[in-house]
């Protein structure tokens, strides 16, 4: 189904991160939407315990790439992915991969906060429940509380875990979505412009949270704001017209980009 015929032998390059093997190794990733190519042979590594920012102008394929990492593109009609994406050395588009299991390992937070129209408790407990992570109510309670604490939301909602998740403010909803994502204890969290619908204060809270979460998870974040990329990420990848132009340490990308287009984008000449 996902034409692996174009598979390129993965260049298991020595990771340029400090000491760890790469979490994700992507090589030659092509994506087509109903025949129209959206990504052109992307090679990118995601390092553990890093925040990797994907930046680039609208329609450059950064969200498409992000969605390849937990196979969210599967649900889009007419979308085909080829190339190789290895998570801890295992091809996630391989035939033996269970998408449900993959998405437990690779959580996702979306652009618009999208809590389920259920109680705050049920929102966070949903993942552990469907994956059968707990056997008792008290375990589940623990997971919910810990996840909310890690997402920095527990203090604000501890008295109203039964009220609907949709009753929270936008920033709180987004943190609830983060709590929901980390409740299944994933290894990687993908964030698709998580702050674009939030005000600056809520954004600051989420950014603060990213730094916290980095200790336990690898994070890939798509962002439109270059300031945000500079603030929160350790590594930055610049996409343009479906191609990965440049990837490297955030500081390097923002101070001395190798490519002219990167330079142009971060200085605001286009985008």
């Amino acid at each position: 189904m996902y034409g692996l015929e174009n598979q390129v032998t993965a260049t298991v390059s020595a990771s340029d991160g400090p000491g760890h093997p790469a979490k994700f190794l992507c090589s030659g990733v092509d994506v087509y939407y109903s025949g129209k190519q959206a990504l052109f042979s992307v090679d990118l590594d995601i390092q553990p315990h890093d925040v990797t920012a994907l930046i680039g102008p609208s329609g450059c394929g950064k969200s498409t790439f992000l969605r390849c990492l937990n196979r969210m593109n599967d649900v889009i009609d007419g979308c085909t992915v080829s190339g190789r994406i290895l998570l801890d050395g295992i091809d996630i588009y391989g035939p033996e991969i269970d998408v449900v299991h993959l998405r437990r390992q690779v959580g996702m937070v979306f652009q618009k906060p999208n809590p389920f129209p259920k109680s705050i408790y049920d929102n966070v407990a949903y993942g552990p429940r469907i994956h059968g992570l707990t056997s008792s109510k008290s375990d589940l309670d623990d997971i919910v509380v810990t996840s909310l604490q890690r997402a920095g939301l527990f203090g604000e909602v501890k008295d109203r875990l039964d009220s609907p998740g949709t009753s929270l403010s936008g920033g709180q909803q987004q943190r609830l979505c983060i709590a929901r994502a980390i409740a299944v204890n994933p290894e990687v969290i993908l964030m698709d412009e998580p702050c674009s619908a939030l005000d600056p204060i809520a954004t600051a809270k989420v950014e603060e949270l990213l730094d916290e979460l980095r200790r336990n998870y690898s994070i890939v974040i798509v962002t439109h704001s270059m300031q945000q990329a500079a603030r929160v990420s350790q590594r930055t990848a610049f996409f343009h017209l479906g191609q990965l132009i440049e990837v490297g340490d955030t500081e390097t990308i923002f101070t001395s980009p190798r490519d002219e287009r990167t330079q142009g984008y971060i200085t605001g000449r286009f985008g």
Binding site: N70, V100, H131
Partner: protein, 437 residues
């Protein structure tokens, strides 16, 4: 738009001026005229709306008034009081018919001729002897005593008492003779005649005699039929819609199915009746006139409505919820079962109840499978022959007897009441689910 502005910015200044004449700022008078025209158009449209709505309400009101004014009397029945002496015959049972005739003759001692006896007997319903027999069965001690009984009046008397005849109707004595009217006046003056709530109308089955006919048989038949329809069409329709909307691949074949389902919703209902006749009766050999078969036919008719409504409400669930659930690693069926379906439930329920209301009022397909028969017994199971409310209305409206006219109105009132109840239920369920989610 952007083109012209871009052009004008590069144009030499004198050319720009000449163009600005063409794009002249409209004068105040022009703008006022324009505004007036726009306001007029809006006012005109609003008035058309008001006229249309009040016209529709007027027609509705007229319909309701005509139904209620013709139907209220079905809920009342005329009864006549007679002092009846019951005496057993040789076979141990009293002759009720004779007892009633004797009571009438005691009441009106001037009656002697055979013709007059016949004539006065016609004031009381043909069912009166059976009514007496039922009372005696309840209380055997009544035999040997003289007791006063309230007995149902005949249909003609019933209509006459409720003022159902015009002067023209009564001319010629073929409905009620001069004599009969005089006797009725006597009965009325002696307070031996009364109008009571017609419980028979709501508790008995159909009858050849208008004063005895009731709609309980049709109500039970309708209930069984609708239950069968609900039990078949709701689960099948909803699961079919879920499969087509959420799980089935999008290709030419599923497109074809979708088009066909939409077309099925517009197929004349009698065609479904023919289908039921051919398959359920002739091929599967199911019982004729049974609510089971009626319900199956109506389920076929309701399925497209439910499928279309369900698909529409599934589509209306925001994609972000689906994404969130998929992102959490839910399987497609879990996404539907845990998130999409509960959110779509209000719309699905509304669609289902609309479909069922349509089925409840359907006549044509049921004619084809024999639910149009004259059935006196109350059906005990969905396999028993029975009829349904709209068919009963049709049958009564088709009868020559004058007394069935009010029954048509009364039965229509009952049918409308059921529809109102069902729709209220739909609104209640929708509100309830909306609050939870």
């Amino acid at each position: 738009m952007t083109d012209t502005t871009a052009q004008s910015s590069v144009m030499p200044s004198e050319k720009r001026q000449s163009q600005s004449v063409g794009n002249k700022k409209p004068s105040a008078a022009m703008m006022a005229r324009h505004m007036r025209a726009r306001r007029r158009a809006e006012r005109r449209f609003r008035w058309m709306g008001i006229v249309a709505v009040s016209g529709a309400l007027g027609f509705l009101l007229f319909l309701l008034i005509s139904i209620f004014s013709g139907g209220w009397s079905a809920f009342l029945a005329t009864e006549i009081r007679l002092d009846i002496h019951l005496e057993t015959k040789k076979d141990g049972m009293p002759d009720y018919r004779r007892a009633i005739r004797e009571a009438l003759m005691t009441k009106f001692p001037d009656i002697q001729s055979r013709k007059d006896i016949m004539s006065v007997s016609k004031l009381v319903s043909k069912a009166a002897p059976r009514e007496l027999a039922l009372r005696v069965a309840d209380d055997p001690d009544l035999i040997g005593q003289t007791q006063s009984f309230w007995l149902p009046a005949s249909s003609v008397v019933d209509i006459f008492t409720k003022g159902g005849f015009t002067q023209g109707d009564l001319k010629g004595d073929h409905l009620l003779s001069e004599h009969q009217r005089a006797w009725l006046a006597t009965l009325s003056a002696d307070e031996d005649m009364r109008l009571v709530f017609n419980s028979r109308f709501l508790t008995s089955g159909d009858s050849r005699e208008p004063e005895l006919a009731g709609i309980w048989g049709a109500i039970v038949g309708s209930f069984f039929t609708i239950m069968v329809t609900l039990l078949l069409s709701f689960p099948i329709g909803v699961t079919a819609a879920i499969y087509l909307e959420e799980l089935a691949p999008r290709n030419r074949f599923t497109d074809l199915i979708e088009i066909n389902i939409n077309n099925l919703a517009a197929v004349p209902s009698i065609v479904f009746g023919l289908l039921g006749l051919a398959i359920f009766l002739n091929f599967m050999d199911l019982p004729r006139s049974a609510p089971l078969v009626g319900g199956m036919v109506l389920a076929l008719m309701t399925l497209p409505t439910i499928i279309i409504a369900t698909r529409a409400s599934l589509k209306a669930v925001p994609p972000s919820i689906r994404e969130a659930a998929f992102g959490m690693g839910a399987s497609p069926l879990q996404v539907v079962g845990h998130h999409v379906l509960p959110l779509a439930m209000p719309g699905i329920l509304t669609g289902t109840i609309v479909g069922l209301s349509q089925a409840l009022g359907e006549t044509a397909p049921l004619l084809m499978i024999g639910m149009v028969a004259f059935i006196v017994d109350i059906p005990a199971t969905p396999m028993d022959p029975s009829t349904v409310l709209p068919v009963q209305i049709f049958l009564w409206a088709d009868s020559p007897e004058r007394g069935f006219i009010e029954k048509v109105g009364g039965a229509t009132m009952v049918l409308l009441m059921f529809l109102v109840v069902m729709n209220s239920l739909a609104i209640y369920l929708r509100k309830k689910f909306e609050r939870r989610w």
